[in-house]
């Protein structure tokens, strides 16, 4: 089954054989890449799930505290308290390479070295629930950033895995069989030509002998 039209020549045969060798090698490499990516992805996604459960629970808890805080204070006081934050968070983004996928890596930098600098309000007019809420939220922050890192990595890796899998499948089910079929077609055709030439020569020889000696 030669679906593609190929010239049955020796040159074409050599070319196709080279192509087949490359395709087979590429297929093996891509398959290895896919397997390794998948292994790392599964570890990563398990971590992602755990982190997300943890973070969601913690944020839920912090939110409860914030609701309590807002219940015991007027809206204006609350807004005023949050008006001028003292602390600032900066991220340093590095990238890490997992099987040729660039995944981000975040490093947290605080503006002031003292982490407890997050209370940006006077304690006189705010309720202690607000302190609790802010504290509980600040404890989640490192996990939240870790979650961001892991979740982004998972998404990027999932995309890469899908691409790699498509490539592997395309090579395995289309490219390699087609090339093999073409190679087979050409070598059959070449053999056939050779046999035809042989027969023709024998025939011609017979004819020439007959003419020369009158057999």
């Amino acid at each position: 089954m030669a679906t593609k039209q190929v010239n049955p020549t020796r040159m074409e045969l050599t070319r196709l054989k080279k192509k087949l060798a490359t395709a087979t090698k590429g297929h093996k490499l891509l398959k290895d890449k896919r397997d390794e990516l998948m292994r790392q992805f599964l570890d990563m996604v398990k971590l992602n799930k755990q982190l997300r459960e943890k973070v969601e629970k913690a944020i839920g808890g912090a939110n409860k505290n914030f609701v309590l805080a807002s219940a015991s204070m007027s809206n204006e006081t609350l807004s005023a308290a949050m008006l001028a934050p003292k602390q600032e968070v900066y991220l340093e983004v590095e990238s890490r390479n997992i099987m040729s996928v660039d995944v981000p890596k975040y490093k947290i930098n605080y503006r002031t070295p003292d982490k407890s600098d997050m209370f940006c309000y006077g304690l006189a007019f705010t309720s202690c629930d607000l302190d609790d809420a802010v504290t509980s939220l600040s404890q989640v922050l490192p996990d939240m950033l870790k979650l961001a890192e892991v979740e982004k990595s998972c998404q990027l890796m999932a995309d890469e895995i899908e691409k790699t899998r498509r490539r592997v499948n395309a090579l395995e089910h289309v490219m390699i069989p087609e090339t093999k079929a073409s190679i087979k077609y050409i070598s059959m055709k070449l053999d056939e030509n050779e046999r035809a030439t042989q027969t023709r020569l024998m025939k011609v020889k017979d004819m020439m002998l007959k003419e020369a000696h009158g057999y």
Partner: protein, 105 residues
């Protein structure tokens, strides 16, 4: 130096301001989309969006799912956990593996 943004309704996210993240209060509507777009173009490495708000921004968020930056992470708001965030993790598993093998319990 990159920064971290939080986008959502006021009640859910005002606390993040105290931690030094940049908070942007917005409710659903066109406003949210405009702010979100602006944030994605500024130098924010991570943008947290409340699950509630993320529903109306789904198309916009999907555009950034497979880009290296920024990371858009959904967090539960004060209205409770809708499970949307977890659904996203599930989706990437399905994309990579073909079927869900992590969350089938």
């Amino acid at each position: 130096m990159y920064r971290v943004a939080v986008l959502g309704d006021k009640e859910s996210i005002y606390g993040f301001a105290a931690l030094g993240l940049d908070v942007f209060f917005t409710a659903e509507g066109d406003d949210a989309e405009a702010i979100f777009k602006k944030l994605t173009q500024s130098d924010y490495a991570v943008i947290y969006v409340t699950e509630h708000l993320a529903q109306s921004l789904e198309e916009e968020i999907a555009k950034f799912a497979y880009k290296a930056s920024p990371a858009i992470i959904q967090i539960p708001g004060v209205w409770g956990n809708t499970g949307k965030g977890m659904l996203n993790v599930k989706k990437s598993v399905e994309k990579a593996v073909g079927s869900d093998i992590i969350f089938n319990d």
